[in-house]
Symmetry: C2
Subunit: 191 residues, 2 copies
């Protein structure tokens, strides 16, 4: 079962091709031929390194879900602004292909239960992280209130991200920054 060096290199080429394709055509649109063509290998090589097509896709998917969350070393110290900024960078940064995959996954959870569980687990962790950051800045509001606000901020960020991908003119960073302002969403100071 030990792998040779060339085999591991081919494996990386295949994963890179899969990653790119997932961002471009979506999780349902990826075919084996597309992957092997882009990676420059035959089907035989693919199946020498992966059991099924799904295995390769899942490997990239896990990576995408993991990539939403910034640098775990900061846990317990980061501010809410840090977390929001990291999310914006994740969506609009260089690896936005991965971000695209992540949003598709969230949506595929609408029809695929296994995916739903996977996405929900990572969502829960993220809510906790946002909640804890909020509590550190405003300990007075209480855990329940902080969690509700964390859910709201994350929901808005997700919605903004979808809008941004669909409408290139949408200023994602600006709208995300507004979420941190004391003014809030619905009502203003001029009440």
């Amino acid at each position: 079962m030990g792998r040779y060096r060339v085999g591991l290199e081919t494996r990386e080429r295949i994963l890179t091709a899969t990653r790119e394709l997932l961002g471009e055509v979506g999780i349902e649109g990826v075919t084996l031929k597309a992957i092997t063509d882009r990676a420059g290998v035959g089907a035989g090589s693919f199946y020498n390194l992966f059991e099924t097509k799904e295995q390769a896709v899942l490997e990239v998917v896990r990576e995408a879900i993991g990539a939403v969350d910034p640098d775990p070393s900061g846990v317990g110290r980061e501010s809410l602004a840090d977390l929001v900024e990291a999310f914006v960078r994740f969506i609009t940064g260089e690896a936005s292909g991965i971000a695209r995959i992540y949003l598709q996954l969230a949506a595929s959870g609408l029809t695929d239960e296994r995916m739903a569980r996977r996405v929900l687990r990572s969502h829960r962790r993220r809510v906790e992280r946002f909640r804890d950051a909020l509590l550190r800045e405003q300990p007075g509001i209480g855990a329940g209130e902080a969690e509700a606000r964390a859910e709201a901020i994350l929901a808005a960020l997700t919605g903004f991200a979808i809008t941004w991908f669909i409408d290139p003119r949408f200023d994602f960073a600006l709208h995300a920054a507004r979420l941190l302002q004391p003014v809030g969403v619905a009502s203003g100071g001029s009440e």
Copy 2:
């Protein structure tokens, strides 16, 4: 080209089957066989009534996009709370299959440009409607500010809706209602 009564009834059965399937298995998972089996017709009957599979799917898709927006007769009179409540009812109500389709569409806009344009157009209209309701209630805030808040509310509602579909325990109505409170998202009164 005129259609007989029986033909039109079959057409309805096919559209109903398509609608159900779209909600259950997603836009990529719908096959012709699944549609015709559920509708209880042969492939020949389908193609007597629709040019392609995509035509039937698009007919349901248009319906789903249209269904997000509540009763157009209220335009110009409704409050922000009315609009939010209507969105919540759309997602959690009896026709939540349609709502599921709508969210899938928004996500499919991530990889399908034609879908992206379609979704964006309806999104823009909805933002305007929310903005106008906001301006009616707080004329002082200005159109730009109102539009930004409309975007934020809609983004949060969309994010909440995805969470709700993925996590049945999520209290969508409660979180949606919080969007209307003067407190806002990030900061509280106890600052």
